[in-house]
Symmetry: C4
Subunit: 209 residues, 4 copies
Amino acid sequence: MTEGTSRIDAFSDGVFAIAITLLILEISVPHAGVEGSLWTGLVALWPSYLAFALSFFVILVTWVTHHDLMRLVRATTRPLQLANGCALLYVTFIPFPTAVLAANLGGSEVSTAVAFYCGTFVLGSGAFNLLVATIARGQLFRPEVDAQTIGRIRRGYRITFVIYVATTLMALVTPLLALALNVAVRLHLLRIRYQPAPSVPRQEAQLTP
Amino acid sequence: MTEGTSRIDAFSDGVFAIAITLLILEISVPHAGVEGSLWTGLVALWPSYLAFALSFFVILVTWVTHHDLMRLVRATTRPLQLANGCALLYVTFIPFPTAVLAANLGGSEVSTAVAFYCGTFVLGSGAFNLLVATIARGQLFRPEVDAQTIGRIRRGYRITFVIYVATTLMALVTPLLALALNVAVRLHLLRIRYQPAPSVPRQEAQLTP
Amino acid sequence: MTEGTSRIDAFSDGVFAIAITLLILEISVPHAGVEGSLWTGLVALWPSYLAFALSFFVILVTWVTHHDLMRLVRATTRPLQLANGCALLYVTFIPFPTAVLAANLGGSEVSTAVAFYCGTFVLGSGAFNLLVATIARGQLFRPEVDAQTIGRIRRGYRITFVIYVATTLMALVTPLLALALNVAVRLHLLRIRYQPAPSVPRQEAQLTP
Amino acid sequence: MTEGTSRIDAFSDGVFAIAITLLILEISVPHAGVEGSLWTGLVALWPSYLAFALSFFVILVTWVTHHDLMRLVRATTRPLQLANGCALLYVTFIPFPTAVLAANLGGSEVSTAVAFYCGTFVLGSGAFNLLVATIARGQLFRPEVDAQTIGRIRRGYRITFVIYVATTLMALVTPLLALALNVAVRLHLLRIRYQPAPSVPRQEAQLTP
């Protein structure tokens, strides 16, 4: 009824790699001569560069997080495929709020744009909480992952969800601070790593193709 | 003359992952100030979000289905590569009817758009029926897959084809009900899983790289 | 100095899968109400559908051909990576002549568009001839591939090159016949398969991840 | 704490394959009849073809270089994932300066466009220097890679950085010579290959899936 996670991992990796690369398509070339020099045009695109770099970083951290979570999973089931699909739906959606952010970062509607951008992370965090809950409910964690570690993982995902709700609300008041907080949260996330057992990483390195 | 399915699987996975990620490119950023606030513009895009989520779900279920079918195949031949190519042609086409649907979901031509969208699934189901027939005719099912299971698989694919023809015709009258039925059919498809033999999934997990 | 072809294969597969999926982005949604009904608009796009299906088939056959050639290669070198890069440059270029073809298939400049489309295949065939020559000159064929087989492969690639030059010239006079001939050539190519030795396919199936 | 580099390699390969294939999307179809014949329009796109081929070559060489570097790495850590992310950020950015180059190669602002294009390589080289430094500082080179080889690799990356700074400055004066120098540097880079030890390539071929 169950099987290894290699094909779901490969599919997810593909989606992450494509979503992170599509971000660049949202930046369009400035036309020299129309509004000042080409140089002025390239500099005026700073909101696009910032939004591009920000979303690149967000998808990269999400990939690392997804990678770390799936390392602890022993098998694939239908509910897992659906929950993972929800997480990937969020990842593929990111280029759109990124483009909205880039188009409005220097304008008068910046708080709406940042709230929409951060609101996407609330939905994304919801999808990842669903994924973790599906893994836990289906008892799909590897046997080396003890109940305490599972508890810590689930708490961690719930706390992140609450933080994303908070930054979205904050974006309506101080949008740039909300963006900065999002980066800080993700830099912090990178420092956490759930260790199932000393021997697993090595074993994993052999299993993963 | 024949070989394993690992490379055709990897190629197909790549196509699925890209098609599912390209869907977002069809949603274009609303321009604040032109027609009301940015918020109004983002809300007015609901047909795009709906079409995006719908097609994401369709491609995800198709990937799961394809995955499940190819698990039962022992070898690749030229006819199989061509039939699989037809199935992938359908998958890569999906972003276009999705965009047509998104552009017309709130307009006066919604029934044409939904019929075109559902009509794509008829062609797609035809391609998958061709794929199953090619596998059966070439005797490419793994030895563990008995004649009865093959019969059930082929009947299942034929029934789905008939349902898609029916929903396409229904779309001309009640488009939204036709869309809802499509989701229901796919949720049902996710519940079916052909079991070749108790030992195969484990063996598969080792074979798949 | 040399290594297996697994990573160059994976990279090439990725490029093939992306190029074949990007083709759909060239078809843009008709706007209902502007020029007749949505249905009229969708039907008027037949040159886009035809160009899309044609190029999909071309890339699919090229992938099968590339796949079959690389199966016979035992190691990767720098010249091979460069020659393979030329072949992939051709593959990634295909969406552009496809769009040119779609935009002009029903117009007055159809012969220029078809000649440009077929001319791309001349360059592509040149790149594949370079690839085969690089493999032969670097003695990178597996030991099971005898000199006679290598000779037949190289002759086959040279003949295809000449045919593509001929169809490009023919396109200037009878464009649609030239397109039909291109399909026929590729259907014929699918029937040829170079057999190194009876035992290799099985061995390959184990080596390829 | 550490694991093999197979998944970071697969993710990076995906990003390289997508970035190299997206380049073609920047070339838009000329409209026949508007400005002379279709043939004139296709010929007038030569800056787009040149920029496309140039960036294809740049990404291809970067992929080969990345591939060669990661072959020498024994494990993945968080800092490595972040530094590799910076290198991939550069790779995914390349389609944008390519489009800027194509739009201005035949115009009056060619020196700004080429300087922007070459300036991207300075940032990219910076990211790769960071990647090498992260590998060295984390002692992530395979045990077979001796201190002397590591020294040569790091010196090589630093020299390349200096050359890219020089060509960017040169672009402000003689843009086309700067582009030619960039090609020359990369052709030279292809000739260098760091050998860890005689037995490693073979072993690598077995380890890499």
